[in-house]
């Protein structure tokens, strides 16, 4: 896989089918539904301790908008990922071009996906700092690889935004 900036696009080329599939999974991975730990992390309370009135207000006024914000980001990413659809060349390497104006949406969706996967798997800090673990071991190892791969993409996009 190669990743570089070309004018107003971030180009990820030489994507093998495995990594292409991981990218395709970003929108579904970012969905916290059905996993209370992930929901709790994505929609965290605005106060520590007991402030029921404020928490209720937050849930009513802020959370729906946050939900909409996150959904918009994953939809933008989902639309970009359509480039990877198709079955004719399913075993061939692919190229994905991300418009730089979609960078914020990608940062958000990648971050959301990482948080949801980590919450669902209850990864420890030690596990999260293990960047060398092979994805070929268990479903858990694959999930950890996914978190690290998405983190790598985030780092690259952040570096490009800095330039």
């Amino acid at each position: 896989m190669e990743i570089c900036r070309r004018k107003n696009q971030i180009e990820i080329s030489e994507l093998d089918p495995f990594l292409a599939e991981l990218l395709r999974q970003i929108p579904s991975s970012a969905n916290p539904e059905g996993a209370p730990a992930a929901e709790q992390r994505i929609f965290s309370p605005p106060v520590n301790g007991k402030e029921p009135e404020m928490c209720a207000e937050w849930k009513m006024y802020v959370q729906p908008e946050l939900r909409r914000l996150f959904q918009t980001a994953t939809e933008t990413v989902g639309a970009d990922l359509k480039q990877l659809n198709g079955t004719e060349q399913s075993l061939a390497n692919r190229t994905l071009r991300i418009p730089t104006k979609h960078s914020d949406a990608w940062l958000s969706a990648l971050n959301q996906a990482r948080l949801v996967i980590a919450a669902k798997n209850n990864f420890t800090e030690l596990e999260l700092s293990d960047h060398l673990r092979s994805p070929i071991g268990s479903r858990r190892d694959l999930s950890l690889f996914q978190v690290n791969f998405y983190g790598f993409l985030q780092e690259f996009i952040l570096r490009e935004l800095d330039c």
Partner: protein
């Protein structure tokens, strides 16, 4: 040390699409006398902290970028806060009136950081 400006005097940047909660909606300040009254209420409300808590998933570079965007901090200050979060588990990013503190927490949640407001005891 410079006192924090009152909320009524400052235009706070808002993350696109994120509204203010009912308690954080701006009051209709029209006449100067009303503004004076609002300031008194806000002064009584001081101070609240905006606290960001450690999360091992969020990347350091991402957290630094968020602090720069939300608070307008220069990179070195944003990095200092990011490292404080990383090393001590939390950092107070801003202190002041409750309305603005809530608004900052909303923006930080929009970037998926673990953030809370705390009333200074």
């Amino acid at each position: 040390m410079t006192a924090e400006p009152l909320a009524a005097e400052v235009a706070v940047p808002v993350a696109p699409g994120i509204p203010r909660p009912k308690s954080a909606r701006p009051s209709n300040i029209g006449a100067p006398t009303i503004e004076k009254e609002t300031r008194t209420e806000e002064a009584l409300d001081l101070p609240w902290h905006v606290v960001v808590h450690n999360d091992p998933v969020n990347l350091m570079s991402y957290v630094t970028m968020v602090f720069q965007r939300v608070f307008g901090y220069p990179r070195d200050k944003a990095e200092r806060h990011m490292l404080e979060v990383h090393q001590k588990g939390r950092s107070v990013l801003w202190s002041g009136v409750r309305e603005r503190a809530e608004l900052y927490v909303q923006q930080l949640h929009g970037y998926l950081l673990l953030a809370t407001i705390e009333k200074v005891s």
